[in-house]
């Protein structure tokens, strides 16, 4: 009987974990949890900051585009003022030119000649694509992605169409 008790105690003693080992396991698990949370927080911060920087850049570029467009219009307007008919006439007269009079014009027949069309009437296909669409992955935070996944209903079968 004494031998049996001894055997059981020995077995329990052999396989029971030491208190300090259990404590370490708990601490390890806790630290692992902390590490996981920290990792998630870092990812969240990283993505959020990148999205913020990208957003700021977009806002800056939008402002730049507006500013450049205004400057372009302004320059075009100034060019038109400089080349307005009154300004050109004044400059031409200052350079010694005179308006042509009846009888001063000589007409020369040039077979096959076709006067060039003004550039404004030439169709200029300017490709103006819309601003590139940013996929959600570039702007969505981890939590937003998770939220979206949870809120999105599972895919359903096709809806029947009746006529």
């Amino acid at each position: 009987m004494q031998n049996v008790n001894y055997t059981v105690n020995h077995f329990v003693h052999a396989y029971k974990q030491a208190p300090w080992r259990i404590q370490r396991q708990w601490i390890g698990a806790f630290l692992l949890g902390i590490f996981g949370l920290t990792l998630a927080a870092m990812l969240y911060l990283d993505i959020t900051s990148q999205a913020s920087v990208a957003g700021r850049n977009i806002q800056d570029m939008t402002a730049q585009i507006t500013s450049i467009q205004l400057a372009n219009s302004d320059l075009q307007n100034r060019l038109a003022e400089i080349t307005s008919i009154s300004a050109m006439k004044e400059r031409a007269l200052a350079l010694g030119y005179q308006p042509i009079k009846e009888g001063q014009m000589e007409y020369v027949i040039v077979p096959g000649y076709a006067a060039p069309k003004p550039s404004i009437l030439t169709a200029s296909i300017v490709l103006k694509p819309a601003a590139p669409s940013q996929p959600a992955q570039y702007t969505q935070s981890l939590f937003e992605w998770l939220d979206e996944r949870l809120r999105t209903p599972p895919s359903t079968s096709m809806i029947g169409i009746t006529q």
Partner: protein
């Protein structure tokens, strides 16, 4: 010892845990407090801003690509009242640069309207003045940075935005119209095509959180328009008109040049004109809207120029042939009224060429009487009298053609209408009608729009025909008659080297008490070169004082306008063109 460390660790862990739990509890408490909804509402309110984006107004070019209406940058000057420590300095700087009273500016800043934080001090400030102010602000900021104080011009803000600009000033002002500060177009092209030019404003919800800043859809600018107007010819025409008004002492005038084969208006000059960049002066220059563009908005009794339509109707209906004659006795009694010629003389036996050459009223009365009211007014209706031509300019008037059945129509009107009395038309209506004679019987709708440019694509405006009131043979016959009548008369409208068809008109001005014999409307309508008309010109001088006769005032103006048209459109003389046609 180990027990002591354990105790300390427990206390520290407990303390930190308490702080953590307290923070969490506080978060939960705030989220469930009575103010939580207010906080959520505030967050939602500031999360997005609805911004209205106005597309740039489309530009307007002449047919050769010269900018007639564009956009320039102007600035709105505002002050952020909460962040403006030195309102005196701002008032002084802005006042001196913009020529405003600094005291008024300061008072406005000191006593702003309730709830206003951002006060607009001035708008539409040109870029030069705004740049000078910006330099002042930069200098003040730099000085403040050096001394470690706040800048005296802190709070002063500049917002750039486009404003309509007309680089040519008053050129073609009657055609273009203008855009006022509310971005709406008035008169001419600016009003007619306001929706196209203005584009569509777009309201966009923009998140204030930069991490949520996304696509802002591209807002297409307003449509750019290319006009049929030739800038050089327009300037020359306006110069001719201005000189004519002075030379002949006319109160006002109009010269319109059109391509009779396509309806394209090449130049439209009218008086008065206005510098479109100073459109706030509109009320000082024009008494009413009809005066803005006399060519399309002001009907008048045209007098003898309408005889070309009466003759066309008589020839086309077979009432007469070119060789038909009548005896002009100097008087004709119709509907209880006596019709007389312009000189009160009898001209004896006259054929159709003589009728037009001498502009005989009695002849026209005879023709309309022979045709009968139904035929005559049927033709006038087909020529478009009393109806809008459909020209693409705002404010067109229809004029008035009385017809049998109208309460104010009398039998004598059939006779007087035939030589241009008792009927009111606009110059553009008569040009449209005359285009049928110049263009082998086909009448064109006048137009000012040549093409539209949008998103890099060009959309051309095409020639619209407004019917064929007369046969091609009639048009050809009448062209010859009109050319011969001008040549026989040795008209001052003739242009050497080019065969021209045309007709003068002198009409007494109707008043409340009958016709004023001292004041006339002098007109001329003509086109050429006769075999392939490239221009149709209408001249109208109101109450010329040097001579009342159209043949002595409007006709030479037509000749000058035709000469300039020939030069600027490079139209070779008839003999050279014939060489080109028959090499």
């Amino acid at each position: 010892m180990r027990q002591e460390y354990a105790w300390r660790s427990l206390v520290l862990a407990g303390f930190l845990g308490f702080i953590g739990i307290s923070i969490i509890l506080q978060i939960v408490r705030i989220q469930n407090s009575t103010e939580a909804n207010t906080f959520r509402q505030l967050t939602a309110d500031y999360a997005n801003v609805t911004e209205t984006f106005y597309p740039d107004r489309g530009e307007i070019y002449d047919r050769n690509g010269h900018l007639l209406a564009g956009n320039k940058t102007v600035y709105e000057l505002s002050v952020d009242l909460k962040n403006a420590p030195d309102k005196n300095a701002i008032a002084l700087a802005v006042g001196v640069q913009l020529g405003l009273n600094p005291d008024d500016l300061y008072n406005r800043m000191a006593n702003p309207p309730e709830g206003i934080q951002n006060l607009v001090l001035a708008d539409n400030v040109d870029s030069d003045r705004a740049a000078a102010l910006q330099q002042l602000k930069t200098a003040a900021d730099a000085k403040a940075k050096e001394s470690g104080t706040t800048s005296s011009l802190d709070g002063l803000g500049f917002w750039a935005h486009p404003q309509r600009s007309y680089p040519e000033g008053s050129l073609a002002s009657n055609v273009l119209g203008f855009v006022n500060l509310t971005r709406r177009g008035y008169f001419g092209i600016e009003e007619k095509y306001n929706d196209l030019l203005a584009g569509n404003k777009v309201n966009i919800v923009v998140p204030t959180d930069p991490s949520k800043a996304g696509d802002i859809p591209r807002i297409p600018n307003g449509t750019t328009l290319v006009l049929t107007i030739n800038r050089d010819l327009q300037a020359a025409t306006e110069q001719i008109l201005d000189e004519s008004l002075t030379k002949y002492g006319a109160q006002n005038g109009t010269i319109v040049i059109m391509d009779p084969q396509t309806g394209e208006i090449l130049a439209l000059a009218a008086s008065p004109r206005m510098n479109l960049n100073q459109n706030e002066n509109y009320g000082d220059i024009f008494r009413n809207a009809a005066e803005y563009d006399r060519a399309i908005s002001m009907p008048y009794e045209p007098g003898s120029v309408i005889k070309i339509l009466t003759t066309a109707a008589a020839l086309d209906s077979g009432t007469v042939v070119p060789s038909s004659t009548y005896l002009d006795t100097g008087e004709l009694l119709i509907g209880g009224a006596t019709i007389r010629n312009w000189d009160n003389q009898a001209w004896g036996v006259q054929d159709i060429t003589g009728c037009l050459q001498h502009s005989l009223n009695i002849c026209m009365a005879v023709l309309s009487d022979k045709m009968g009211a139904q035929t005559y007014y049927g033709y006038m209706n087909r020529f478009g009298l009393g109806r809008l031509t459909g020209i693409d300019l705002a404010g067109e008037a229809a004029g008035r053609l009385k017809i049998p059945g109208d309460s104010d129509w009398y039998p004598v009107d059939l006779a007087t209408n035939a030589f241009g009395q008792g009927v009111s038309v606009t110059p553009i209506q008569l040009m449209t009608a005359a285009s049928a004679i110049a263009n082998k019987g086909r009448m064109v709708t006048p137009r000012v729009l040549l093409a539209m440019l949008r998103d890099g694509r060009r959309y051309n405006s095409s020639t619209q025909y407004a019917g064929s009131p007369i046969k091609a043979e009639t048009a050809q016959t009448l062209n010859q008659i009109l050319a011969v009548s001008l040549e026989k008369e040795a008209s001052s409208a003739l242009v050497p080297g080019y065969r021209i068809a045309g007709k003068t008109g002198t009409a007494q001005v109707p008043t409340e008490f009958g016709y004023d014999s001292t004041a006339t409307n002098a007109s001329f309508i003509g086109w050429g070169p006769l075999d392939d008309p490239k221009f149709l010109i209408y001249v109208w001088l109101e109450k010329p004082s040097s001579s009342i006769w159209g043949s002595e005032t409007a006709a030479p103006v037509f000749a000058e306008a035709a000469r300039q048209t020939i030069l600027l459109l490079n139209i070779p003389p008839d003999d050279i063109r014939n060489q080109i046609a028959k090499p």
